[in-house]
Amino acid sequence: MAESLLKITGLKIEATAYPPGEPPRDITLVEGVSLTLEKGKVLGLIGESGAGKSTIGLSSMAYGRGGVRISGGSVVLNGRDILNAGPGGLRAIRGREVTYVAQSAAAAFNPARQLMEQVIETSLFHGLMTRPEAEARAVLLFRKLGLPDPETIGTRYPHQVSGGQLQRVMTAMALCPKPDLVVFDEPTTALDVTTQIEVLAAIKEAIVDTGVAALYITHDLAVVAQVADHIMVLRGGKMVEYGTTRQIIKAPAQPYTQALVSVRSIDHEEKRDAPAVLSVSHITARYRGTNFDVLKNVTVDLPAGQTLAVVGESGSGKSTLARVITGLLPASKGQITFAGRALLPALAQRTKDDLRELQMIYQMADVAMNPRQTVGTIIGRPLEFYFGLRGDAKRKRVQDLLDQIEMGKGYIDRYPAELSGGQKQRVCIARSLAAKPKLIICDEVTSALDPLVADGILKLLLALQAQERVAYLFITHDLATVRAIADRIAVMYQGEVVRYGTKSDVLAPPFDDYTDLLLSSVPEMELGWLEQVIASRKMEAAGH
């Protein structure tokens, strides 16, 4: 029986927290985690943020980021105990037997040195190859990973190369010294959907080609299902479930795993047509001082009490559309009609009622609330400002709203810093509801949340829509969310609406090129999906 490459037993990782004004305390980040990884196999570590996946991944190199220390258990790599290896011993294995691919390639590269130098650095340092050999291997890897101009891309600097390409260069850097194990730490999380799938395919091919073993860390179950042989589900630093990919995806045993697998499977029936509460008509807009339009001839309608999902990647103009509708960026051409009346282009020109009936919820709830105001003040201000409520009447209404967003008693006097991510977003929802709006613009409201928490928020939004008959303009880049809650969909690309209609119409073929690309790039939680997509794209490329 071949000895396993990596064997972690009973791992315990701790850190010291220094809360201001209080004595330092020790917190346990990871406890009792054990795993075994064979040569050439891929283990996926999955969990929500704070689950400890990166910490465990880095412990395979006996590394703790920022004062984090491995305080218990053992890590055995290639038969050697590395926790007691000493600095010299660790330097011998890092960059040689184990390498690391970071989440943000842009930050992980030295901005002052050329890419080739950085890619071959470890190979030269550990004396594995001569310079010409290392460079040749690097170019080979660039070609395999699908990078443009593989011969010359090494002479570039990090800022001269795009995000997706940089991620692939980092993968090349990790594979160059022919390591036994590569730790991939959320390598595609920061990328756009359409870029993500290319990078993912490139990584998968490289893994299969070189026969390297890998720890693949991500929070997206659909992604990990494409690359991993085994999956470990983590939560709060502890192991929840550990099994083969097939077993985890098809027959999850634990309730938490089951919840992760079934995420975003909310069933939402499309509503029938109704008079529009918002009509955006031929809107064109540009930022002052620039000479190109950021929105071109955008026309969409949103029926009352329904949800219009605006989908697109970064730079598509979806957030700009929100700014135009709210009046922060006056349109240069076109008309907006809201609740039967014309909406003047600039914020300053609008009436109080206009402002009240159109509300907005933001992506990052942390910065959407004033940290020095209590929850009661935050939710209470719109009540005061629009309806003149004061004192007890106001407090009662605030509590009613808190009940409506499923947060019970005891929150009125809390500060935002004391709430969890999901709770913060709920308070923001309550704040917008307090104004009794007809339309709420939701700008990527679930994008910064963990999948399960995001699910909860989406369910809440749907329930509130049924209760209050409020319309949503839901801006997102995530197609799974769109399927779950939209009645109508508008797909945006480079400032234009490329596809618009009811959900069933938009999601049914035949597609325009961009929508086709977008829809096919979203990872499905099916084994072998990635191979299918790669194959079909190769066929298309060959056919044209």
């Binding site: 190199m61 590394y63 980021r65 660790l90 330097r91 011998a92 294995i93 890092r94 960059g95 040689r96 390498t99 690391y100 970071a102 943000s104 930050a107 992980a108 590269f109 030295n110 901005p111 002052a112 040195r113 650095e121 470890t122 340092f125 550990h126 600097y157 800022h159 001269q160």
Partner: protein, 319 residues
């Protein structure tokens, strides 16, 4: 197609010159337009109206301010800084030697302070939050809490009077050998170094810390590189720009510290010259000195910005 770096550097230098011009206007306004009759100050209380009127005409005080400004500026650009009111001496001539002395003093202080500040900054980061770091922080807090003149007198008290190591008056004159000169200015240099060191060291520590906490340093460590290699190959090239920036900004502090130190040690430099003539209300001298100091200060700031531009890889290698 001009390289963007050259364009940016040229822009910065042009901006600096513009700033210097505006500063000259400010200095001129500060001395000439504010209340206070120059002629009266020179001739004293007992001056007759006729002599006052004559002096005003002679000094050109009756012309409109704008004309007076351009007259002054024109003269300055030709190297004529005017004549001192108190003794009629040509300012440019008197300043020449003194400026040399001041620059010599500042240079010696800089040559010691800069490596020391960078070195201490590196040590503080290496032992972050441990006792060497805390000790260095405390000492620098003490030095920046005490004004330069007091540091000067403490130094004199300890090293000149109690222990008789260095002279308390920094007299330099022509004909002194370099060694003698260095001995004479040992104490003022010490005081200047201490003054500037406090500020500079805190800022170099912050700049180096910022670089060391970047993600690419972690990448280098995870590649198993030796600590020295990590610092030399990865930290250093990215730290040059912020550290040089810090050094230049603090050398500007030096400009101010020099003035006080020269007074304490009676050193024949620009600072002493300026202070003497402020009390005597000798406006032309004050104007000229103010202009020279401002030029040096602005010049150092320009150098700091230009280094930042040159060291930025995004600008050196545009997309």
């Amino acid at each position: 197609m001009v390289h963007p770096v050259i364009k940016l550097v040229a822009q910065r230098i042009a901006l600096g010159l513009l700033l210097l011009l505006a500063a000259s206007v400010l200095i001129f306004v500060g001395t000439q337009i504010l209340p206070g009759d120059v002629a009266q100050s020179i001739l004293g209380q007992s001056a007759t109206p006729t002599s006052l009127a004559n002096l005003r005409a002679e000094l050109g005080l009756n012309e409109p301010p704008v004309t007076r400004y351009f007259n002054w500026l024109g003269a300055v650009l030709q190297g004529d800084l005017g004549k001192a009111l108190t003794n009629g001496q040509d300012i440019a001539e008197a300043m020449g030697k003194r400026l040399g002395n001041t620059l010599f003093l500042a240079f010696c202080a800089a040559v010691i302070a800069v490596p020391l500040a960078i070195g201490l900054g590196l040590i503080a980061v290496r032992y972050l939050n441990r006792w060497p770091d805390k000790l260095i922080s405390m000492v620098t807090l003490a030095t920046i809490s005490v004004p330069e003149f007091l540091l000067g007198y403490i130094a004199i008290f300890l090293l000149s009077v109690q222990f008789r190591v260095f002279p308390s008056l920094a007299t330099v004159y022509d004909g002194m050998s370099l060694g003698e000169q260095l001995y004479a200015i040992a104490l003022p240099v010490l005081v200047l170094v201490l003054t500037v060191l406090g500020h500079m060291m805190r800022m170099t520590r912050a700049a180096i810390l910022n670089v060391m906490q970047s993600a690419y340093i972690e990448t280098a460590e995870l590649k198993g590189l030796r600590p020295f290699t990590v610092i030399a190959r990865h930290a250093f090239p990215n730290a040059i720009a912020p550290v040089v920036n810090v050094v230049m900004l603090n050398l500007a502090y030096l400009v101010v510290g020099v003035v006080v130190v020269e007074v304490v040690f009676v050193y024949p430099g620009m600072g002493q010259y300026l202070v003497d003539h402020v009390s005597k209300r000798d406006v032309p001298v004050v104007q000229a000195c103010g202009l020279v100091f401002a030029a040096v200060y602005i010049g150092l700031n320009i150098v700091a910005d230009v280094v930042s531009i040159l060291a930025n890889p995004r600008l050196r290698h545009p997309k």
